[in-house]
Amino acid sequence: MRTLFPAVLLVAAVATPAAAQVELGGGVAAVATPYGAGAFPSLQARVDFTRHFAVETVAAFEPGGFKHGVEGTYLLQVHQAFGASTSKVTPFATYGVLGSFEYRRYPEFRYTLPPTGDTVVYPAYTRRSLSGPFGLTGGVGARVRLTPHAFFEAGAQLLEVDGSFAVAFSGGVTVPIGHGR
C-alpha cells in the first residue's frame, strides 16, 4: 500500500500532459466508528489531471486540547467525477489511502531529582510525524456549482484500518485557483 499508490499517481501524472487545475477547499467531516463519533474541520488540495480524474489530499484535524500544534488524519485519494463538468450537479467517487500526521511544539520541560538535586532538562522541540498510509478509504458524493468559481461538495466515505471500519460524512466548499480555473 505504501508504494503502490504513489506509483499509480506517477503513471497518471506522466500520462496526462494536459494543464492541471488546482482546487483548494475547506469543510467539516463527521466520522462515526464503533467506539464513538466526532466532527473534524478539514482542508483539502486537489489537482485535476483530466476533466474526470483528480488527485486530492484531505487533512482532517483533531479538535481538542492540542494548544501547541495540530494533529489529525490525512486522506490521499483519487477523485473521479462522472458526467459533464458543466452540469450544475456532478456526482463523484473517491478512493485511496489514509494515514496520520502530527505537528506539535513542546516547550522546555525540567524537573529536579529529589535524592541528588540533579535537574533533568528536556529542551523545547517540535515533533513532526507523518505516517505512511495504514488504511483504505472509498466513497461517493456530489459536487454542486455555487458560482462560476466555487463549488459545494458533500459525500460519504467508508474508512478501513486493520479490519475496523468507520463512516465519514463530509461537506465543504472548494475553489479552483491558477491558470486552469
Binding site: R2, T116, P123, S129
Partner: protein
C-alpha cells in the same frame, strides 16, 4: 513546480512517512559543594565537618548544626518537613565506596511514627536513565526498626545496598535523605533526629 509533479512529490512523501527524532534530555548537576578537610578520611564528625553537609546552599530541609567540636550534631526537626543533606563533592570522584555508617538518635518520637533514612551515592557521570545507588538499613530504610533505634539512645548503623545494587561505587557526592510518615498518611512524624557522625566506607 507543476501541480502534477507537486502531487507526485507529496504522494511519495506521504507514502514514505517521516518522524522527527525525540530530543534527548540533559542532566544539570547541582552546584558543587566544597570539600572540607576531615580528621578521619571520608568521615564527618566535628562541627566544621558536619556543617559542610548543612550550610552549603544545596541541602534542603529543617536541619541545623548545633554543638561544638566533636560534640556537634546535625539536628533535623522531622516534624517540620523532609530533609536532604548534600555531602561535599569529590574531585576526583571517590572510588571503591561500599557502604555508609551513620551515628544518630531519634528523640521525642511518637508511637507508630516511621522514619526513613537513606544514603544516595551520586555517580561520577549520570543520565536520567540510571538508578542512583542508595544505601539503607534493614527494614527498607525505616530506622525505627529494630526497637532499640527508637529508644532515643545513640545508634551506630551501617547502611548498605542490600542487593539493590552492586558495590563498589564511584561517587561524585553523597546525599542523605531523612523522611518519614505519621500514623496517618500525610501526618508528620514527631521529634528530632540528631546525626553525630557520617562516614563512607570503602572496600
Amino acid at each position: 513546480m507543476k501541480p502534477e509533479l507537486l502531487t507526485v512529490a507529496a504522494s511519495a512523501m506521504l507514502a514514505a512517512g517521516c518522524h522527527s527524532a525525540p530530543v534527548a534530555p540533559t542532566v544539570v548537576p547541582p552546584p558543587p559543594v566544597a570539600a572540607v578537610a576531615t580528621a578521619v578520611p571520608y568521615t564527618w564528625d566535628s562541627r566544621a565537618e558536619l556543617a559542610a553537609w548543612v550550610d552549603n546552599g544545596a541541602s534542603r530541609g529543617p536541619a541545623t548544626v548545633v554543638g561544638d567540636g566533636t560534640e556537634a550534631v546535625i539536628r533535623v526537626d522531622v516534624n517540620a518537613g523532609d530533609t536532604n543533606l548534600h555531602g561535599p563533592d569529590f574531585d576526583p570522584p571517590l572510588t571503591g565506596v561500599s557502604s555508609a555508617r551513620i551515628r544518630y538518635r531519634w528523640l521525642d518520637r511518637a508511637q507508630d511514627d516511621v522514619l526513613f533514612v537513606e544514603v544516595y551515592l551520586r555517580p561520577a557521570t549520570y543520565d536520567q536513565s540510571l538508578n542512583i545507588p542508595h544505601l539503607f538499613s534493614l527494614g527498607g530504610g525505616d530506622i525505627s526498626k529494630p526497637p532499640e533505634n527508637t529508644s532515643g539512645q545513640w545508634v551506630d548503623q551501617v547502611f548498605t545496598a542490600h542487593n539493590m545494587s552492586t558495590p563498589p561505587y564511584t561517587v561524585r557526592f553523597p546525599t542523605i535523605s531523612v523522611t518519614g510518615s505519621g500514623t496517618y498518611g500525610p501526618a508528620r512524624i514527631h521529634g528530632v533526629v540528631e546525626i553525630d557522625s557520617i562516614a563512607l566506607i570503602r572496600q
